[in-house]
Amino acid sequence: MKLEGTKEFDAPREVVWSVINDPEKMAKTMPGIESFEIADDRHWSAKVKVPLGLGGLKMSISFEKLEERPPEFASLSAKGTGVGALMNMQTAFTLSGEGEKTSMAWEADVKIAGPVGSMGQRVLQPIVNQQVGHVLAAVAEHVQQAKGGGATS
């Protein structure tokens, strides 16, 4: 499943960069994060319980930073395993913009297998879209905090 979009921030590029390249901050954007461990600056892992409304889906996810060109491009891969469930994601961000405005073009290729998959695509795709939406909203919040603004607009 390939997703892409653009997110606008009212913050300088460096600020956005600092958020999306901080494993700890990014971890906090993940829906249902329960614990978090940093191995080195390219590898970290997290345990999450993805809130699915009818009950959570527990997963262990390991992240690897694949490429970075500060302050404009980063890509990472995430591999999650749960009970009989699998999630693989490759994602990339490209930042552009001037001054207080930053535009983040992002793309993600998400693969999910296992019991959630067997519920059917009709629920799977909207769920993924929705979780991505949550992440982006949380990123925006952290960007605001990093900027010193505190609350989101």
Partner: protein
């Protein structure tokens, strides 16, 4: 088949239900179970505790209060089909209930369950948006009402928070004319695309299912149709371009483009049905 281990409680009163929902982490209300138990069979999601609402008779009431039709969250789809109050005050609800899945599912499945699950292909979320419903949600802190616009949050997610319970769905009694149309996977099957439309006194509400995690209002079409005495050509003109504004999923049954097109057609057909009923 073969669920994970789960806790279970069967409260005798709504108060008990609320206390169970509030007092247990990961508790989830079990209404008809026609989605929830199937999700649990796949082990796709596993609530910690099921709070079975089966014995709460007060959630199974249907009544008309003034100009409002109140339907208890635990009213089954079969009961909806048989309700004289529904037949008199908002028959589209019974009509749509009759096309959900099959007899056995309708015998257990409830209106509250159908909307709280909010599977994007479910029938009632878009219909209730078109009917401008109001949801009553109860918790130990008291009662609150949520407009249908704010009710749907995501797949399997609604404004009903942990510790809360949807008790009632209210829709205006009467109304002008309602319609619902769509394409299903086989007769009475899962919707591939759908639209619900309702008109009252020239004001339209149109909602689309299957295109996002929550029902989507077709506000532009609504305003284009506003106050117009519609014929098919008008409706087609009003719907023109709707598909391009949508970002529907692409799956084995429909590409995003096909779903856009089906959605436009569904809107045309739902609107014409509603208009015909409004005039008749």
């Amino acid at each position: 088949m073969l669920l994970r281990e789960v806790g279970y409680a069967r409260p005798a009163t709504v108060e008990e239900a609320l206390s169970l929902l509030a007092g247990n982490d990961g508790a989830r209300a079990l209404a008809g179970g026609q989605t929830l138990l199937n999700v649990m069979k796949q082990r796709a999601a596993s609530p910690e505790v099921l709070v079975d609402l089966g014995k709460l008779a007060e959630l199974r009431l249907v009544g008309v209060q003034g100009m409002t039709l109140d339907i208890g969250a635990m009213v089954t789809l079969s009961a909806l089909m048989r309700s004289s109050e529904v037949e008199v005050s908002r028959p589209i609800l019974a009509e749509v209930a009759a096309t959900v899945a099959d007899v056995q599912v309708r015998n257990r499945g409830t209106l509250g369950g159908n909307i709280c699950v909010n599977d994007p292909t479910n029938h009632f979320p878009p219909l209730l948006v078109a009917l401008d419903a109001t949801m009553t949600i109860l918790s130990e802190d008291g009662e609150r009402t949520v407009s249908v616009e704010d009710f749907f949050v995501g797949v399997f997610e609604t404004a009903v928070r942990e510790g809360e319970l949807l008790t009632r769905v209210s829709v205006p009694a009467g109304g002008g004319g309602d319609g619902m149309s769509g394409v299903t996977l086989g007769a009475h099957g899962t919707y591939i695309a759908n639209a619900a439309a309702s008109v009252d006194d020239g004001r339209w509400r149109i909602a689309l299912g299957c295109v996002a995690a929550v029902p989507v209002r077709a506000t532009l079409v609504e305003s284009r149709l506003s106050g117009v005495d519609v014929d098919e050509a008008d409706v087609r003109a009003a719907v023109e371009g709707l598909g391009e504004t949508l970002d529907p999923p692409s799956d084995v049954h429909a590409s995003a483009d096909y779903r856009r097109s089906l959605t436009e057609t569904s809107v045309v057909r739902a609107v014409l049905q509603a208009a015909e009923r409004a005039s008749g």
